[in-house]
Every structure is written in C-alpha cells, then in structure tokens.
C-alpha cells in the first residue's frame, strides 16, 4: 500500500515538475520574444527617419490597417456597447443607481475596452496579415531580392507598417468609443427607458476628454506592439508554408497576450503619472 502510494507520489511529482517546467519554458520564450520584438522595433524605428521616406507605403498600409478594419470595429463596438450597458443596467438597477449607467459604460469603454478590443481585433486582422505577408515574402526570397536590389527591407516593409499602425489605431479606437457609446445610448434610452438628458448629463459630469485621450494613447501603443511583433515574426519566418503558418499564429497570439499584459501596466502608469503631476 505504502509502495503504491510512493510510486504515485513520484509520478505526481514528475507531472507537477513537468507542468511547471513547461510553464516556465513558455514564459521564458515569451519574454525572449518580447525582447527580440523590441530590438526589431528599435531597428525599424531608426529607419523611419532615414531617406527615402516611404510616404506611399505608409498610406497604403494605413488604408489596409485603418479603412479595412472600420467595418469590423463598428460591428464589434456596437454589440460591446449594447452588452456592457445591459449588464451594468441590470446591476445598477438593484441598487437604484441607473443614472450612473452612462458614465460607467463611458469610462469602461474609453479607458479599457475601447483600446484593448480595438488592439485585439486589429492585431488578429491586420497583424496576422502582416506576419503572413512578410513570412511569404521571406520564404519566396522576395525579401532577399529587395536586399540585393539595395533596398533595406526593414525600411521598406517594416517601418511603414509600424507608422501606419501608430497613426490608425487611435482613430479606430475613437470610432470604437463613439459607436459603443451609441449602442449603450440606444439600449439605455430606447430599450430600457432611461432619461436621455440625465444619461448625457451624467456622462458629461463624470467623463473627461482625458479619459478618451488615455484610451487613444493606449491604442497607439498597442498598434506599435502588434505591428512590431507580427512583422518580426513574419520577417524571420523560415521553413516554407509551415513556417509562414507558425509565424502568423505566433505573431497573433503573442500580440494579443502582450496587449492584455501591457494594458494593465499602462493603466497603472497613466494613473501614477496623473497622481504625480497632481492632475487628480
């Protein structure tokens, strides 16, 4: 009996060891890739300011990241606004505080959900496409072709994508905020019968333009994050179609995890900065 228990204990211990080792290995790989993407980002950022300026490329990628994401952002933000407003309405109704549904939804959307969901959606759509495109270019020697033509591939392929993401993400976040608030407004006023004047009055009293700016700054940082992570993955892809698939998968997953982790630290950093500057 004791022997069986000992055997089981050793087996369980080895499972636990293996599990923790796996987790720590994954965490190690994640941090290594964060570092690699940061160095890649620094390299590419330096090239933004080097001639020739790639204005044409930047606008082309802005169109892809921005314009082509608007519809999906409108759709997701509308339903996010509706669902969030409904949940908050149900909760606040219990304590007879339905007047505060508007500002609560507003703060949640502008500070957190707007930038984070915009980041996640655009990372999945545009980030995945970036990693796949660059990965395909790498394995089909198109990046080598650029290099031997005397064109810096990082300057031509990576830097314009990062710039385009930084410019378009705050704009997409603003669209998200606006449409989500319209959704919340529709639910609260048209479906739940709250007073429109009170709804907007409370939003005006509780919500600052700063809350919207914070969200937009976060969105810009998330833009840099997914652009750097996904282009880095695609740029260094190897091993044919499988390599491109792996690069795309890892690029999107790492971007999403980084956006969520960064969001927590940015929220704290922004609060800390406000307190230090005496703005609160």
């Amino acid at each position: 009996m004791i022997r069986v228990w000992k055997d089981n204990r050793e087996r369980i211990n080895s499972y636990i060891d293996g599990t923790f080792k796996g987790i720590f290995d994954q965490v190690g790989v994640f941090f290594f890739e964060c570092g690699q993407a940061s160095l890649f980002f620094v390299d590419a950022t330096k090239l933004i300011f080097k001639k020739p300026f790639r204005i044409e490329e930047v606008t082309k990628h802005m169109e892809f990241i921005g314009n082509k994401s608007v519809l999906i952002i409108i759709l997701t933000s509308l339903f996010t606004g509706l669902a969030l407003a409904y949940q908050i309405y149900l909760g606040f109704k219990l304590v007879n505080a339905t007047n505060l549904v508007g500002p609560t939804v507003g703060l949640g959307i502008t500070r957190e959900l707007g930038p984070v969901l915009t980041g996640l959606i655009v990372a999945a759509r545009a980030g995945g496409a970036m990693a796949a495109r660059l990965g395909t270019m790498r394995v089909s020697e198109q990046i080598d072709a650029l290099e031997v033509m005397g064109v810096d591939p990082k300057q031509y392929l990576v830097a314009p994508r990062i710039v385009a993401a930084v410019i378009t993400m705050p704009l997409l976040c603003a669209v998200f905020d606006f449409v989500a608030m319209m959704g919340a407004h529709f639910l609260c006023i048209n479906l739940m019968g709250l007073d429109q004047a009170i709804f907007w009055d409370k939003i005006g009293a509780w919500l600052d333009p700063d809350d919207i700016y914070q969200g937009m700054v976060k969105a810009a940082v998330f833009g840099v994050t997914f652009a750097a992570v996904c282009t880095n993955k695609g740029f260094h892809a190897k091993g044919g179609a499988k390599g491109v698939g792996d690069a795309t998968n890892q690029g999107v997953v790492n971007s999403m995890v980084m956006i969520i982790v960064l969001n927590f630290f940015m929220t704290n950093l922004i609060r800390f900065t406000y307190v230090m500057l005496g703005w609160e």
């Binding site: 020739p52 395909t136 089909s140 020697e141 198109q142 080598d144 072709a145 290099e147 031997v148 033509m149 005397g150 064109v151 810096d152």
Partner: protein, 258 residues
C-alpha cells in the same frame, strides 16, 4: 571601371571563406576562389555542397564566419551599409523561383529597382527602360500589366532576368536558373543567359547550377564545389582532362542523367 579592371582581373575574389550556421558544422570550409571578369562562370556541385550559400555570400546577404569576399575589388564586409547598398546596385540576381513581388505587375516589378535608385527619372523614362529590358528577354507588351501569378514558370524567369538587368549590373548572378523547368525551356533559359551576357559586353555572369549540360554549354569557366571547398576550377577542357575520381563520377552521372 577601367583602372579597377586593370588592377583586379577577378570580378569576385574569395579567400579562405568559412561558414557555419550552428557554430560546429561548416557548410563552407575554406573556399578559395577567383571568378574571372567578363566571363560566364558556372558553379557546380552535388546537392548540399553550399553552392547557394556561396552565392548569398557573394551578394552580401550572409556574413561569413571567417574569410574575405572581394567583389569588384572591394571587401564586402569592410564596407559601410551605404557602400554595401551601392555595391549591390552593381549586381543583378535571378533567383531560383524568380522572387518577383507578387503584389506588383510585370512592369512594376522591373521598374522597381529603377524607381529606387534612379529617382531623377520620370515615370515614362523608367517604363521605357523596363520596356526595353522586357523586350530583350522576350516578354511581349501584352504581358506587361499582368501579375506574376498569371505567368508561366518560364515567363517568370524572364521577368526576373529583366528586373535583374534593369540597372545594367556589372555582375549578373543566376541561382539555379533552370530548376523545375522542362528540357526545352531549360535550353531556352540557357540561351537567354548566353545572349544576355553577349548583349552586355564586359559584364560577368555567375551561374549556380547542378545541370552539367548547361554548365558545359554556356560556361567559359567552371568551379566545382565539394565538401565545403573548391574541388576543381578551370575551363571546361580542364574538367574533361581531369583524372580526379569525384570529378569523373560527377561528369559521368551528370551526363547520363542529361
């Protein structure tokens, strides 16, 4: 160019080149080689002997673990990045699978290097140059607005060659130009290499290939790689006269397959 030619009869000079990707296994292990200027040189060898790796070193895409590579009299790895870019403009490359930009048309592909490096030229001037290069390699104007995905393998090779020629390079490099082509198309591409070389007097052509027939048909000079080093280098006659067993084996097998 003239004084440079007099001082450096070799277009490419490689000394004791070693390359390892993992720090222990050397793909290239002490390559010493001179590629003569103004000639068609073919680099041959069994699969996995480092032919393409050698080509990437000549292009400056890969950095050697040790050794030096001089292209047109300049050591590639003692140059600044801007100097390296200027050097690369003097090289044209036809990649194994053409490496055409798949989001650009045939015309855009060929005008791309001109647009990047001859910014003073107008769009119509760039297109005139591209037009001439495309006609030179046998592409009809009806294909100019097509995407690479709409072209056959042979046509993609031609467009790739036109793009490599766009800036009138001093050295033209071909990475396995006939891989994946049928025997008739292989001959067409071989003829294209020779005619292109003749149309650009003074230019140097370097062809990496495992196709022995092609090597002996088009080359003035042949380099055979084996086990990361140069086994034999010389004119086709030198190869025919060689008593080296490995060279003989390669020749017999190669010609049998052909």
């Amino acid at each position: 160019m003239t004084s440079e030619s007099a001082q450096n009869p070799a277009a490419v000079r490689i000394q004791d080149l070693r390359k390892s990707f993992d720090g222990s296994d050397y793909v290239l292990d002490g390559v010493n080689l001179e590629i003569p200027k103004g000639k068609v040189t073919c680099i041959i060898g069994f699969s996995g002997t480092g032919k393409s790796v050698l080509l990437k070193h000549i292009l400056g895409i890969l950095k050697p673990t040790s050794g030096t590579i001089e292209v047109l009299g300049r050591n590639l790895w003692s140059m600044t990045l801007d100097e390296l870019i200027q050097m690369r403009i003097r090289l044209g490359v036809l990649f194994q699978y053409s490496a055409l930009f798949d989001d650009m048309t045939v015309m855009e592909n060929v005008t791309f290097p001109i647009k990047e490096h001859r910014r003073q030229l107008s769009i119509s001037e760039r297109e005139d140059i591209a037009d001439r290069k495309l006609v030179q390699v046998g592409i009809e104007s009806k294909h100019f607005r097509k995407l690479p995905s709409e072209l056959s393998g042979g046509m993609r090779k031609r467009v790739g060659l036109a793009r490599a020629l766009a800036l009138d390079p001093d050295i033209l490099l071909y990475d396995e130009p006939t891989t994946g082509l049928d025997p008739i198309l292989t001959e067409v591409v071989d003829d294209l290499i020779v005619s292109t070389h003749r149309a650009h007097p003074g230019s140097t052509s370097v062809v990496v290939s495992h196709d022995l027939f092609a090597a002996f048909r088009i080359s003035d000079y042949i380099v055979m790689l084996n086990k990361g080093g140069v086994l034999l280098a010389g004119t086709p006659d030198v190869f025919h006269a060689s008593s080296d067993k490995l060279v003989q084996k390669f020749l017999i097998k190669g010609f049998k397959q052909g």
